[in-house]
Each structure stands twice: as structure tokens, then as C-alpha cells.
């Protein structure tokens, strides 16, 4: 058997434990899948695989145990899947009947967002799809995630770019009855940005993270939702060297800025990547270039909007697996 593993993997097929079998990876940008596509998944799994499908950690589907010889046939069958989930949202695919043209840039994941969740401050899937449109197809190994509020159920802090919705709370003092539900709750579950002054609420904008908890707790509608913004955390990672949480990079950024930023990431990678390696993860590129270069290139041509703030430094946490440092 002869196959070009690099071409196969780029086409979203895996090299697996079983030398004769591959596994198909399906992207589901934003994690929301029209069920009309499920019969196709079932058909492929039953006709070519072992009748099973794996739900991936990145909200995609993997159909395992497919003999390599069926790749071409299945790629053609997949066309409606790619049309619906990629082409229809604006992703440019030259030959959707030939399967996925790239696999390095991973599926953009999103929490369920305000389609369902009461905490979510925006439609996460919609933003994930807009990001997919900008970053796919692309080869660099990049992981992006979108979450509806700082609870971060989708773990954007483990991603190269993590986007967290923020809402600017608006306060109408006239409607406030000083029940202090917002103040107590903000102190308990969020950042303690609210205090009572003269029986009305004062918000410390420098502490507020735009979670919207005050709006949820307010019985009178004194707190309502104002502008929609995003907090961006960057360069979180797992892996064998130095796992770490993503660090806050921007807050109160506007939607356009977020999209532009995702685009700029690829220019930054292209400029600085170590081409002697088979692949280099962008977080390690940042470790080499330093934050000032990253910041400058990420923000090139980006209109952040009047409320946005940029981090002075990247406040990483994390640890190293280097056992000489950790253990005796």
C-alpha cells in the first residue's frame, strides 16, 4: 500500500493504530449541527466504518475504522456536509467534493451560547462561524474557541485565541430599589465591581468584566444590557513542555477587531515560524518573539474601538514538565 500521509492528513483523514484503516474528521464550526446531516454521517459509518462515531473534544465528529481505499468516494459523499457547514457560511472551498482542503487549523469551538444558556452574553456559534470564514482553510496548527461568558465552559483558556463575551451593563438609577442583589452577587460570583453609594449602585469599571450577572439578578430592570464586547485571551496550551492558561490580551474589544486579530495571527505565524520543525505551535513562537512583537503584529490595522484595553504584559500561569526543575 502506498499513501502520502501528509496529503491524507491535510485532507482531514487520520493515520491510525491500524495500518489499513483511517478515520475521518468532520468540522462542526461553533458546535451546532443541523440534524439533517446526521443520516449522511450514519451512512458513512455503517457502509465504510464500524458503525460508530466519536464525538471529539473539539465538537467535531470522527468516523473511525474506514479502509484507506474509500477516501475518495467518501470525500465525494461528504459534499453536502461541507456545503452546509462551510460553503454556506462563507468559507471558500474550491473543490468541496474532494473533502477538506486543510486540517492544521482546528475546528472553532463554541459553548452553546445564548441559543440556550441564560448566562451567555451573545451568540457564540455565530461568531465561531464568522471566525471559521476568516481562518479556514489554513495549515498552521491553531486552536480558537469562543465562550459566552467568563464561566468559560468551553475552556478558551486552553486555546491559542480564546474569546469571551462581555456586555457593558447599563444602570438606570431611577429604577433601582437598593435590594443589593447585584452588589452581593457580584461580590460572591464575580469581581466585586459594585458598591452602594447613597442607596444606589456604583460600578467600578476597572473591575467589571462584563459578565452580565448584575442584569440577571436585577428584579426591576435597573440594570440592562448595553454594548456587546469581547475579552481575548491568548496562547493557552497543553502539551509536553509547558502547559499554561491563556493570558488576557484585550478586553472590551469590538467584534470587527476580534475577527481582524484572528486574521493577523496567521501573518504573525508565517513571519516567525521555525520552518526546520515539522510543525511549530504558535505559543512557542510567542515565547521566542516576545510579547511586544506579538502585540504589534496582532494589532496591525485593527480598530479596537474606544472602550478596548490592551494588556501591558501577558500574565501567564502554568508549569513546566522539565523534571529537573520539578522533582528530585
Amino acid at each position: 500500500m502506498t499513501i502520502n500521509t501528509k496529503k491524507v492528513m491535510k485532507n482531514a483523514w487520520r493515520i491510525t493504530k491500524d495500518r489499513n484503516l483511517t478515520c475521518l474528521r468532520l468540522r462542526v464550526p461553533g458546535g451546532h449541527l443541523p440534524v439533517k446531516l446526521l443520516p449522511l454521517v450514519q451512512e458513512i459509518a455503517e457502509r465504510f466504518g464500524n458503525g460508530e462515531v466519536h464525538l471529539t473534544t473539539r465538537q467535531g465528529l470522527e468516523i473511525p475504522a474506514i479502509p484507506f481505499e474509500y477516501m475518495k468516494e467518501i470525500n465525494a459523499l461528504l459534499e453536502p456536509f461541507l456545503e452546509e457547514l462551510e460553503v454556506n457560511i462563507g468559507v471558500l472551498l474550491e473543490q468541496p467534493a474532494q473533502g477538506y482542503p486543510a486540517a492544521g487549523t482546528r475546528n472553532v469551538v463554541a459553548c452553546i451560547g445564548n441559543k440556550v444558556c441564560t448566562n451567555a452574553v451573545f451568540d457564540t456559534t455565530a461568531l465561531a462561524k464568522d471566525i471559521e470564514k476568516i481562518i479556514y482553510p489554513n495549515n498552521p496548527h491553531v486552536k480558537i474557541a469562543v465562550t459566552g461568558c467568563p464561566n468559560d465552559c468551553v475552556k478558551v483558556h486552553m486555546h491559542d485565541i480564546g474569546i469571551i463575551g462581555q456586555v457593558e451593563p447599563l444602570y438606570d438609577a431611577q429604577r433601582c430599589i437598593n435590594c443589593q442583589a447585584c452588589v452581593k452577587n457580584c461580590a460572591k460570583v464575580s469581581t466585586g465591581a459594585l458598591s452602594i453609594v447613597n442607596y444606589k449602585v456604583k460600578r467600578d469599571a476597572s473591575r467589571c468584566i462584563g459578565c452580565g450577572e448584575c442584569v440577571l439578578k436585577c428584579p426591576t430592570g435597573a440594570w440592562t444590557r448595553g454594548g456587546q464586547y469581547y475579552r481575548v485571551v491568548v496562547m493557552g496550551r497543553t502539551g509536553k513542555k509547558n502547559p499554561r492558561l491563556a493570558a488576557p490580551f484585550l478586553e472590551w474589544a469590538e467584534r470587527e477587531a476580534v475577527l481582524r486579530l484572528c486574521n493577523n495571527l496567521y501573518d504573525y505565524i508565517d513571519k516567525h515560524i521555525d520552518r526546520s520543525l515539522p510543525k511549530e505551535h504558535v505559543g512557542y513562537i510567542l515565547d521566542r518573539t516576545g510579547y511586544p512583537v506579538f502585540r504589534e503584529e496582532m494589532l496591525k490595522g485593527v480598530e479596537l474601538g474606544p472602550k478596548a484595553k490592551t494588556a501591558n504584559y501577558l500574565d501567564f500561569s502554568g508549569y513546566t514538565y522539565d523534571k529537573k526543575c520539578l522533582f528530585d
Binding site: 445564548n114 441564560t118 451567555a120 452574553v121 451573545f122 451568540d123 459566552g148 456586555v167 438609577a173 431611577q174 429604577r175 433601582c176 430599589i177 437598593n178 435590594c179 443589593q180 442583589a181 447613597n198 442607596y199 452580565g212 442584569v215 440577571l216 439578578k217 436585577c218 428584579p219 426591576t220 430592570g221 435597573a222 440592562t224 444590557r225
Partner: protein, 336 residues
């Protein structure tokens, strides 16, 4: 006398009315819902009839228009005080039959309870004209028929949207403007005769027995004492006072009155730190008994008008209607 208006004619009527009145109605407040990307039907000043939401119940009640959440009463300094000036204009409020009955409940508490009328309430109340919005169908959670509040004759005019035109029965023509802008036609307002749910308010409840009923423990475990039920209620009237001393000149300040809620911490706080009804179930019992027993004992009518807004607002899905029915069944053997 009845009148028929095209939308254009009604808008001319509104324009004329707005010279001397602020006109408030339930409108769609875009993006003002609690959850993201949701709207809220609430009261706001309107300039055209198309802004009025007829096919939904407002989340907040109309009481905020003439009994403000925060009302400045007077300003003071070391020499004396001056009363806060009220808007010169009158107020016209679009509301439902049950809401009008609730205004009558507020009137009883604010104007007829005790030796003198509440001056600050009265001076706004006297500016108020009521326009009843016909109820052509009952909304979810309404139980006005059970409370006998589904009808009213206490209005200046009625209004309903029917086949693209607005029909009004006018009891008291405001400045003769309805007659001026409308086309005479026979109109009688439509009120619902049945709701999707009915409630049987128990009579002759024995307080000691009610207080000992374990349902309050169960409700206490569910209720979070947020006060939404009282805030959205058209007949809840409790308030507290706030005296503010200005930061940069503490010799000057203002007194304002602000809505309060028997469900929220602090309502019964007394000098020395004592307070009643610390438990959420006790607070709910207090409210329920006020709505369906104590008020009637004093004024002859139930305080609850069956609008169901408390059911819609409760984040813990506690239904007052269900509670009333359940209480009646459980206390059936304990009547005085």
C-alpha cells in the same frame, strides 16, 4: 360614545393629546430583556399607536408610570426644604382591565388608608387618565376571571385593534379630542370571560392553621427572595424612604421614596437589629395572605387582581395562582 380611528387618525389624536399629556403604553423595548438578545414589553412614552404592544402582556405593570420606582419628594438644606416639582403635563396610560382594578387597589392604600391621603401619590394620581386596552384573548398565567377583575368601567377610553383600525369606547373625552379625530361608531370594549386557568380563592382561612401549614417550608426552599413578584405586581405599594446628603455639601440633600418589597432582606429591619420573617417561606406566606385575605378584610376586595405577572417573573417558577389553589385545598378542613 364610540369612535373608529385609522392608524393615521389615532396618531393625530396622540399628537394632540401629547400637547398636554405624556402618553405611556406597553411597548417593545428592544434588547431590554434579562437575557442577551431578548426584548421586553414594558412601559415607555409613546408617540404613535403602532408602538403599543397589544398581543402580549407587559412584563412590568403600569404602576411605575404614576407611582415612580424612585420619586424625589423634597430637597433640603440647613435653612429649610423645597418640594420637588412635578411635571406640568398630565399622564395618559394604556393598561388592561385588571391593571385598572389594581390602580383602584393602590388608591385604597395610598388615599383611603388612614387619616390623610398620601400627598405625593395623590398629586400624580390626579393627573392620570386611563385608557383600557381590550383583552380579546387571555394570556398564559392570567386568572382575572377568578378574581373578578376581568372587566372595568373605570376608564376615559377603551382601545382595541380590529381589522387594521382602532376602536374606542369613550367615557370621558379628553379635551374633546377623541370626537374631533374619530369617526362615530357603536363600540363596546371586549373583555375576556374565561382564562386558561381558574383559581378558587379560599374564604374564612384560619391564620393559625395557615401559618402552621408546611407548604411555606417547601416554598421557602424554592423561593430566593428576589422580590420580582412584588416589583412586577400592579397592586404592591410598599416603599421606603432614602435621605441623601450630597457628598460635596452634606448640609444639602434630598428625600426620596423608593419601592420596597416584603420579599427582600431588610424590609422589616428595626432599630436594634431585630427583623421579622427572616425565612423566605414566611415572607411568601405574608405576601400571599395580604393578596388574598388581609387586604380584603380591610377594604372589601382582594388585593390580587389575577394579572399573573408574578408567575411570569418568578425565576424559580413559583406560581401564585397554583399556591392559592393549593392553600385552599389543604386548608379545606380548617375553615373558621
Amino acid at each position: 360614545m364610540g369612535y373608529r380611528f385609522t392608524a393615521a387618525a389615532f396618531n393625530q389624536l396622540l399628537e394632540s393629546l401629547r400637547e398636554k399629556y405624556r402618553v405611556y403604553a406597553p411597548t417593545l423595548l428592544k434588547g431590554k430583556g434579562k437575557f442577551s438578545d431578548t426584548d421586553l414589553v414594558g412601559y415607555a412614552e409613546i408617540s404613535k399607536i403602532e408602538d403599543v404592544v397589544f398581543n402580549q402582556k407587559s412584563y412590568f405593570s403600569p404602576k411605575e408610570t404614576f407611582y415612580p420606582v424612585t420619586q424625589r419628594l423634597f430637597y433640603f438644606n440647613e435653612n429649610g426644604f423645597s418640594e420637588a416639582v412635578v411635571d406640568e403635563k398630565g399622564m395618559i396610560v394604556f393598561l388592561r382591565a385588571c391593571d385598572i382594578q389594581a390602580v383602584e387597589r393602590l388608591d385604597k392604600i395610598m388615599l383611603e388608608n388612614g387619616l390623610s391621603a398620601d400627598y405625593y401619590y395623590e398629586r400624580l394620581r390626579n393627573k392620570l387618565k386611563l385608557i383600557v386596552m381590550d383583552c380579546q384573548e387571555s394570556f398564559d398565567s392570567c386568572f382575572c376571571v377568578s378574581m373578578g377583575t376581568n372587566k372595568t368601567e373605570n376608564y376615559s377610553a377603551s382601545v382595541r385593534l380590529e381589522n387594521g383600525v382602532y376602536l374606542s369606547d369613550v367615557q370621558e373625552d379628553i379635551e374633546g379630542l377623541f370626537a374631533f379625530h374619530g369617526e362615530t361608531i357603536e363600540v363596546s370594549p371586549k373583555f375576556v370571560e374565561s382564562n386558561k386557568q381558574s383559581v378558587k380563592v379560599p374564604e374564612n382561612l384560619v391564620l393559625e392553621s395557615v401559618a402552621a401549614n408546611p407548604i411555606w417550608e417547601e416554598y421557602g426552599s424554592r423561593c430566593i427572595a428576589c422580590g420580582r413578584c412584588t416589583v412586577v405586581c400592579p397592586s404592591c405599594s410598599c416603599y421606603t424612604m432614602q435621605d441623601i446628603f450630597y457628598d460635596d455639601n452634606p448640609k444639602c440633600g434630598e428625600r426620596r421614596r423608593v419601592w420596597a418589597s416584603c420579599q427582600i432582606d431588610g424590609f422589616t429591619d428595626m432599630a436594634g437589629g431585630h427583623s421579622f420573617r427572616r425565612n423566605n417561606g414566611e415572607r411568601m406566606r405574608f405576601k400571599v395572605m395580604h393578596k388574598i385575605k388581609d387586604f380584603k378584610q380591610r377594604f372589601g376586595v382582594h388585593m390580587c387582581v389575577g394579572c399573573g405577572r408574578c408567575d411570569n417573573a418568578c425565576p424559580e417558577y413559583i406560581s401564585l395562582a397554583h399556591c392559592i389553589d393549593r392553600l385552599g385545598k389543604e386548608e379545606a378542613g380548617n375553615r373558621g
